[in-house]
Amino acid sequence: MAAYALRRLLQSIPLLLLVSLIAFGLMKLVPGDPAMVMGGPNATADEIDAIRRNLGLDRPFWVQLGAFYWNLAQGDLGRSLLLGQPVGAAIVERLPATISIALYSMGLTLVFGLSIGIVAALRHNTIVDQAAMVIALLGVSLPNFWVGLVLIVLFSVQLGWLPTGGYVAFGDDPVGWLRSATLPAVSLALLQIGLLARITRSAMLEVLRQDYIRTARAKGLSEWKVVGKHAFANVRIPVVTVIGLIFSVLLSGSVIVETVFSVPGMGALLGNAILRRDYPLIQGGLLFVAAALMLINLLVDILYAWCDPRVRIGGDAR
């Protein structure tokens, strides 16, 4: 298992190199002179020169590439033009908000997506099943910024239970965090709950048809054991793959939701960086997101192998 994880980790290195090259190339792909684009139409020649020197654009290509990797190796992602702050520090500062909200909505997604899907499958072709699938369909079809706005109107403006926006760090005030993170997490989760419920339901229906479920019943196991142990252990396998995808989407889907709820997170940071053409920040963000997605994929693969002995222990019938 550990060897498997290590192998997968090593396999992701070439991909990471490729992504970093793309991040570096980003600067080269900017049409025209990047320093002029960044400086904007009103910049003086001196200002543009300063930007150019700051970015090292006046040096030869290979020197630029070498410097890029040299800095990267030291964890230096450059300095944001907009914030005047190192890119790494800016990202680290915004990370907790995004990750904690993503984890919160992942938790909501798992609890509700799995249970709705399982109940629907167990009550297959009944009114319960149909109701669950209508709810799931609603979750899938409503855009999350719209859900966010509706939730704000309902719970913040009308009922006054939760704040309309902003973010309180968990470390500062856990209850405050919960209050500030709930609406963003719910509006992010809704779509994913719908997706996961549908996938769980069809996986469960498939598993319940299998011969080994009949065997479990033939052994005299309680229905709880049949479903909770024998069926669920097999439903997990397809679901784990989807969960990795869902978590990636939750992390990246935060751009809009963070804007709606004015949460100072990664999504808002990168959204702004793109709008304002803050190339070092975009570069850093791209690298960071790529690394995060790779890490998630790695975790999913490990979880997958852990769930399925046929993957973990190769080898066919002897």
Partner: protein, 337 residues
């Protein structure tokens, strides 16, 4: 016969809800099994053998399945009237079942050991170590080499024959009094088939279980069964002690089956050698289901289902013309095995 038989099935009718309405996969099936007896059930594919066994075990998914009529008694107790919890306590303990599909009947994500120990601990509240010991002993008994090591294997690491041995071990782990074996060897190759059947016979003499052995194979029936139930299109065509069945088959379908079996010892002799095919479920022939393929058929046969007649003690036939064999029908066309 004073004591209640081990298993008594009376007028069992099992229905399936399908696109064409509810159809009977098994209709008015009756038989009895004494403790220590082996009842063979034969019949071609789709004749309702598995549905009969699954009805006894209570393993058919409802819906689409439904027991439409009849009674199933186990040691005198009415299984169909019993609360679900009591019936579940019998499953895997007093009655075990081995299925037709060894490759898919074990859960792929749990070890062999886990799957046996779980059965033992469900029914007998043993400490884990005692349950493990019993599991290892059972695996050893069904002929699995180095059973303690195999306990940690997952099903995909075992061959089909080994998996079926594990299934037999699971079924036997709690010393059932009734074993339902649904074509336990059909999916396996010939040498393994013979080994497993020998094993089942040894276990049967050793433990005195009642066994219902479902098979396609008249050779297996001749060798293992005490009594035989011949099924056709969901109904009982003939029931007889094994010698009577082979010496004096009365139902034209049975005659065909035996004629189609080259040797009793051989493992060949599939049932597909009688011309024609089973009617589709719910095709609603008003009379005898075998009439379209029967050389003796008359207008009376097509009018109403033939009643069951007892032609000798313990020998019952559902045929109007059981005493009027047609010359030539015993020489049913053979297909080389």
């Amino acid at each position: 016969m004073t004591a209640a038989p081990l298993l008594q099935v009376e007028g069992l009718t099992t229905l399936f809800r399908t696109g064409r309405g509810e159809v009977a996969a098994v209709e008015d099936v009756s038989f009895a099994l004494a403790a220590g007896e082996v009842l063979g059930i034969v019949g071609e594919s789709g004749s309702g053998k598995s549905v009969t066994a699954l009805s006894v075990m209570g393993l058919l998914p409802e819906p689409p399945a439904r027991i439409g009529a009849g009674r199933i008694r186990f040691e005198g107790r009415d299984l169909l009237a019993m609360p679900a919890r009591e019936r579940r306590a019998l499953r895997g303990a007093a009655m075990g079942m081995v299925f037709q599909e060894p490759m898919t009947s074990l859960n792929p994500v749990f070890t062999v050991g886990d799957q046996i120990v779980e059965t033992i601990r469900t029914h007998d509240r043993l400490p884990l170590s005692a349950a493990r010991d019993r599991a290892v002993a059972t695996l050893a008994r069904v002929g699995i080499p180095s059973p303690a090591r195999r306990m940690q294997d997952y099903p995909h690491q075992l061959s089909g024959g080994m998996r079926q041995r594990v299934m037999i071990a699971i079924a036997l782990a709690c010393a059932p009094r009734l074993l339902l074996a649904d074509e336990p060897t059909t999916a396996l190759d010939v040498t393994i088939q013979a080994q497993l059947l020998d094993l089942m016979r040894d276990l049967q003499t050793e433990r005195g279980m009642g066994i219902v052995l479902i098979t396609h194979n008249m050779g297996v029936i001749a060798e293992f069964a005490d009594r035989v139930l011949v099924m056709y299109a969901g109904r009982v065509a003939e029931e007889a002690p094994v010698e009577a069945l082979f010496d004096a088959p009365r139902h034209p379908y049975t005659v065909g089956l035996i004629g189609a079996t080259p040797t009793l010892e051989g493992t060949g002799g599939a049932l597909v050698t009688i011309p024609g095919t089973l009617p589709r479920l719910g095709d609603g022939l008003p009379g005898c289901g075998f009439a379209p393929r029967c050389l003796r058929a008359t207008a009376a046969c097509r009018a109403a289902p033939p009643p069951m007649v007892e032609v000798a003690p313990g020998h019952r036939v559902a045929c109007l013309h059981w005493d009027r064999p047609t010359p030539g029908e015993a020489r049913a066309p053979r297909v080389p095995a």
